[in-house]
Symmetry: C2
Subunit: 408 residues, 2 copies
């Protein structure tokens, strides 16, 4: 957590990964992020994984940490009007709304503009035409599962992490802040519509895949764990540790050969083939079936602990394959990484929670705050953000338009 965006107030009405991660990134950069929660919780309030002891969603509290929550009955006209009013709440750095609600529903941009003419709305969508899509259905539509997995198995392989969701969340945070910069220049509000489908399609194009296929190249085949276009694959060391090794740059390549003491052996191969692997990373890919056995044999003779100091001193790029349960104790990743702090979450569990995923050496790192209980900040938001009177707040409670937190 840092406070670079401490002046901003963002309202979020969103579920699942992309929208809530957008709000999370903003919160971790210091913005005040107020979630509009349906009373009782939205469609992701019970998303797995759950805490076995009480059924609370570890997923929900993962995406909603460091935010505030106001619980509103979003089925009622009064609740919907209140949500719109909150999205358009005043303030030079307010009127910033993140949602994945439908573009044509009660939170349409037209409706939002009635609350605040210069409102900025980042709207996460599935398809651009408003039809539903999730990371998984977009991923299959652009062909990624067909290009994933081992070549001896024709089954497509779905991604385990919803990468398009996460990317859309970060792109959404970038878009919101960019739209604020534009609004400060021209006074105009904007809706930025971010379909997962566009994010996925654009990303494949950035990689050169669209140019390649449109130029007549065949679809990329499944490559197993091989890196495309350079040297990289998983290997097993003599003590049975599986590691990922990559050599894209000449330095990485030379360092790797030197560590494994196969520089001469590879030079002999280069002489036979009449080429230089150091000068052209693509040759390392073209000839990988010849190269891999040399590396396999060399790695099988060495223990990982012997290799690591040389890997490190020569700038070799490698990483272990380790289950998350082991990675938790890797001080570079979780326990010991200053990005993480142990805090108590609404599930009742205390565990390692990340703040901003990086470091600003000039600034003080602030600890992450827990996720709210549903409606934990209902009264605070109504009183302070919307400026309602205590009597008005009480009336909203009495009428069931809003709710405070359930008793713990």
């Amino acid at each position: 957590m840092y406070d670079l965006l401490k002046a901003l107030r963002v309202v979020e009405g969103a579920a699942f990964v992309a929208g809530p991660s957008c709000g999370l990134y903003l919160a971790q950069m210091g913005a005040e992020v107020i979630r509009i929660d349906t009373i009782g919780g939205g469609p992701d309030f019970n998303r797995w994984p759950l805490a076995a002891e009480n059924g609370k969603s570890l997923y929900w509290e993962g995406f909603n940490k460091s935010k505030k929550s106001i619980a509103i009955n979003l089925s009622s006209p009064e609740g919907r009007a209140l949500a719109v009013r909150l999205a358009g709440a005043p303030g030079e750095n307010g009127g910033l709304f993140v949602t994945n609600f439908p573009a044509e529903g009660f939170l349409s941009y037209e409706a939002l503009k009635k609350a605040r003419e210069d409102i900025i709305c980042v709207r996460v969508m599935g398809w651009a035409d408003g039809k539903p899509a999730l990371d998984y259905t977009v991923n299959s539509s652009v062909g990624v599962p067909n290009m994933t997995g081992h070549p001896d198995d024709p089954r497509p392989v779905n991604a385990m992490m919803p990468a398009w969701d996460f990317l859309t969340g970060a792109y959404g945070a970038f878009s919101l802040v960019s739209a604020l910069i534009a609004r400060r220049m021209d006074g105009k509000g904007r809706e930025v519509r971010l379909p997962l489908s566009d994010i996925a399609a654009a990303s494949l194009a950035h990689m050169g895949l669209v140019a390649d296929v449109m130029g007549g190249a065949p679809d990329r085949p499944k490559l197993g764990n091989d890196l495309y276009g350079a040297f990289g694959r998983d290997f097993v060391t003599g003590d049975g540790v599986r590691i990922m090794l990559v050599a894209i740059t000449a330095r990485q390549w030379r360092g790797l050969m030197q560590t494994l003491e196969i520089t001469d052996q590879v030079a002999t191969l280069e002489a036979q083939l009449g080429l230089s692997f150091a000068e052209d990373e693509g040759l390392r890919y073209d000839h990988r079936d010849t190269l891999f056995p040399i590396f396999e044999a060399a790695l099988a003779k060495r223990k990982l602990a012997e290799l690591v100091p040389t890997f490190d001193s020569l700038g070799v790029c490698w990483g272990p394959y380790q289950p998350l349960s082991k990675a938790i104790d890797d001080p570079r990743l979780f326990r010991g990484n200053p990005v993480f702090s142990e805090i108590a979450q609404p599930s009742g569990r205390t565990y390692l929670v990340p703040g901003f995923a990086g470091t600003v050496p000039q600034d003080e790192r602030l600890p992450p705050r827990p996720a709210p209980r549903l409606g934990q900040h209902t009264d605070e938001v109504l009183l302070e953000v919307l400026g309602l009177s205590s009597a008005e707040v009480a009336k909203l409670h009495d009428e069931g338009v809003v709710a405070g937190p359930a008793a713990a």
Copy 2:
């Protein structure tokens, strides 16, 4: 492309995916992005895929479209000094630098600050300690390949798309714009260090995986193509089309059963089991081995074209599995998607190139610009950004400190 950030001038000295995609996102939002290229090209200048006809990198031009290029000899002290000076070029909305150069090298934050006290630097890193890492080595380190693929095959499965790279790029663009907002408030420059390792670790934590494992749950097993915690998997229709079907919300679930005309059959199963799948998405996951055959049988009786209208009208979430070569002609993704325009790139190829991956309905969509040739803007940048005289520019050329574009 939109012009929300048209006031900004960003300098980029970066290679591979994360850094250049950060600059790309900024350029597509309207910022002027000037790449500092090593004369002859950096370590990703020949990254695959290549255009078969001339060996030009489709990857490089994919990540560097809509940017400018100044070619500098970064091995020489004069060239290095020029790069630092350019990063710190004046202007209220300048002094914005994106890099993946080492934190301790000639582009260290200390060195950059000497050029401009309030410079903002977004630095993409591998590990936070400066050791090299790429998407693939970070991904294996946090355990994703162990959780990917079919459960009948114990081999880990690497990701095909470098998701952590893309996410770091978008998070970097967000960080840069956030740091600019902060600088406008407090006048201070900042370095935002973004290790891929922190991005990956934080993302797994956001999903609740860290809480789950730290609470004693076993590592998540490989689930094949099953969605974790709700209903989702790939199925094959009667006419042999593989589709991804997901039902997380009750509406998606009911719509899916209704389309497949299995509502009664599932109700019978619910009565036998004494539970309600509509009310608890987790039950759909727990009982997936019982549910999947019902869906398989129902889908095997129907052709996709018959199903689609009902899927659409009932809000069912689905997507085809299609190779990229087929997706290219899907008007929702590539050809026909207004995000894409056919433009000529430096490879000599004309193909579909994306602009900003979304839509701002209030603003005019601007077409993407091609990637530069290396050094295409060398003189323009030296004259206009650094304010050098023509004589000074000529001297830099004569001394080999800079270069213009090679003859086409």
